[in-house]
């Protein structure tokens, strides 16, 4: 079956490696400086010192890396790609968008001030995260059906 707009299967591994590298990097950085996304980049913009520029570039690379990693994991082909999986993928995507915006509406109502900024930042990746979790959960539970049904 022809599938459009999907990465080759190997891209999943690339995505996982990318996220693991970023997670390790962030962990080390957090340990050394006490924060991943430095707030100095917003507070002191004129003129921007060299180390703040570096911080901004680091942040950009990290954010793009996280998004690319999640996209690769979510939208790479499975080993045997067929129409049932395509439908499962689209279902999961729809489910993820509903859940994401449902939670987002709750956050709009109940969270204010600076805390809401972190909600918006998390919201950049949560649709992809929810999609990946739901899609793979469904594959896992379908595989469990096969085991129950072993013939």
């Amino acid at each position: 079956m022809k599938t459009r707009f999907l990465f080759p299967h190997q891209f999943r591994l690339i995505g996982i490696v990318l996220l693991v590298v970023i997670a390790i990097f962030c962990g080390v950085h957090q340990y050394q400086t006490g924060g991943i996304f430095s707030s100095t980049s917003l507070g002191n913009l004129n003129p921007i010192p060299c180390d703040v520029w570096m911080q901004i570039i680091y942040n950009d690379i990290l954010q793009v890396g996280i998004i690319l990693g999640l996209l690769f994991i979510g939208f790479s082909k499975e080993k045997i790609e067929d129409e049932q999986l395509s439908q499962l993928r689209l279902d999961s995507l729809q489910w993820a968008v509903y859940v994401n915006y449902g939670l987002f509406i709750l956050c709009i109502v109940f969270i204010y001030d600076w805390k809401f900024l972190s909600v918006i930042i998390f919201n950049i990746i949560t649709p992809l995260l929810f999609f990946i979790i739901r899609f793979h959960w469904k594959i896992y539970s379908n595989n469990r059906f096969i085991k129950d049904d072993a013939i």
Partner: protein, 66 residues
């Protein structure tokens, strides 16, 4: 829509995995079709019917609520 794939497989004595290999889908897909959790496309239904050498209507049967 119900189907008789399980019966046809038993007659032909092939497993879900064999059928999946014959028509180029995953075993999971065959399992979801057999347990009525997924309705296959026309192309897939025709391929399944061809494996069993029968007409599509003999394998996939409409039900009242369809």
């Amino acid at each position: 829509m119900k189907n008789t794939i399980r019966v046809e497989r038993a007659i032909k004595n092939i497993t879900q995995a064999d059928l999946a290999d014959l028509i180029g889908v995953s075993r999971q897909t065959i399992n979801t079709i057999e347990s009525n959790r997924y309705v296959p496309s026309t192309v897939l239904a025709l391929k399944i019917a061809r494996v069993f050498g029968k007409a599509v209507e003999e394998i996939f049967i409409l039900e009242e609520e369809d």
